[in-house]
Amino acid sequence: MRLAVIGAGAVGRSVVELAGEHGHEVVAVADSSSAIVAGSSDGVDAEAVVTRKAETGIVGDDDPADALAADYDVLVEATPTTLGDAEPGFSHVRTALERDRHVVLANKGPVAERYGDLQALAADSAGDVRFEATVGGAIPAVSTVEDIEPSHVTAVRGVLNGTANFILTRMAAEGLDYDHVLSEAQDLGVAEADPSFDVDGTDAALKCVILANVLSFGGADDPADAREFSLEDASVEGIRDVPGSVLRLAAEDGRTVRLIGEATGETVRVAPRLVQENGTLAVSGTQNIVQIETTHAGRLNISGRGAGGPETASAILGDVGRLG
């Protein structure tokens, strides 16, 4: 497959680097201000693009619009997640689908905030839309739900934000308060300077909203009847105010606290919850876990790395493979 990669952050760069190993060719790369489009015969030089981005902050001398217009089979949308109208990511997706090309998303915005619009565009296109990388990084959450079939899945829950999980794990292990552990996490690069998106539960909620859309649309006989979810429909509580004493009281009773997201075809909820200290859901550090509750196959647990460039790129390239 010939890929156009839009977005040259950690995820986009990893896709550029790893595409060859998966048997694909990158024919265009764009960031917000520049692009490189390969000549007629061969793909872009992955190493050169990554080096140039690192050294100069741009990927090439072309215009970002040239990458969108390039001759690709699959558009990889890896620009930062935006809420509301989910732009500019949504327009990138629209452009590709209107050209009957496939789209693979790492950007959560279009799938969480405009799932109905996205499905409508896909229905009119010869191209498909896939978005495994939007939920749980390397963990195959969406494709597992699809394999079981959404109508046979009653709920999906889990730990879907590594930053929040790292903070809760450290608070419990060291008996420290939130503020202490947050600065430690920021020093380690686990938390961003503005950690709101992670610690307020927004990121986990977006992932659950996406899963709720998969369950709702996938379980409906007619997609037109499916309930569409967006962030507004989620009940979200973060971990910012959780005092250390909550973790101590939980530990005295063999339990701990995890920021758990839950999605069904009807509800989306993210909140700190009590779980068994040695239980399946009490993953440590930046690990994520997805637990799928099924009608006929019991409960499935998949844990792993929920973020990171190569991890997320693996999910993207897995999606590209499924388009084959």
Binding site: P243, R273, L274, T280
Partner: protein
């Protein structure tokens, strides 16, 4: 309507062919149910009828007229004999009539729920919070552990062990949440039914 006669249980038990000493599921035994009645005329009779009508053999009624529950209702304890199968039907019939069944045999508070509350627990009157949870009918408070820092301006936490009636953990958690929301407290609820 009922084929149960006074004095019949002994006869039935005496002819029990089970040789393993196991409990014969068809033999009647004594049950106690604890009800909450609204303080209005006719309520007691309305509560006894579903018992008699569904094959329960009334033994005694303890009507605590002067003693009210936190919700201003009158607690009534009723002893009767019934087979286990009929007993379930009786409890269902009572609930179907809108009568609050606080305790039915050993089923009372069959499920334990542990949750943690945090926020300004002291300023918002923890004992009032606990008695309101207790009064919510779905659960009783079995145990409380408090972690309160010096001074009331900081947030404190309390771990609560609740006992909820079988199948009513969601209702019990919802009741706690409602009280907590009103007092601007946060609830760290367990993942009900997912204790993995």
């Amino acid at each position: 309507m009922s084929d149960t006669r006074d004095g019949a249980p002994e006869a039935a038990a005496g002819s029990d062919p089970a040789a393993d000493g196991g409990h014969d599921p068809s033999s009647p035994s004594t049950h106690t149910v604890r009800l909450e009645l609204v303080d209005e005329p006719g309520q007691l009779l309305a509560a006894l009828q579903p018992i008699a009508n569904n094959g329960g053999n009334l033994l005694s009624i303890y009507h605590e007229r002067g003693n009210k529950t936190p919700r201003g209702r009158i607690p009534v304890e009723v002893d009767f004999e019934a087979t286990p199968e009929r007993f379930e039907g009786i409890v269902e019939a009572l609930r179907a009539e809108g009568i609050t069944v606080m305790q039915a045999g050993t089923e009372r508070y069959a499920e334990e729920i542990t949750l943690v509350l945090f926020g300004h627990l002291i300023d918002t009157d923890l004992s009032d919070t606990l008695s309101r949870i207790e009064a919510s009918a779905s659960a009783s408070v079995a145990d409380v552990s408090l972690a309160a820092p010096q001074g009331t301006e900081e947030v404190s936490s309390a771990r609560l062990r609740l006992e909820a009636r079988s199948g009513e953990t969601a209702e019990a958690i919802a009741a706690v949440r409602e009280i907590a929301d009103e007092k601007e407290l946060r609830v760290v609820a367990p993942l009900a039914g997912v204790e993995a």
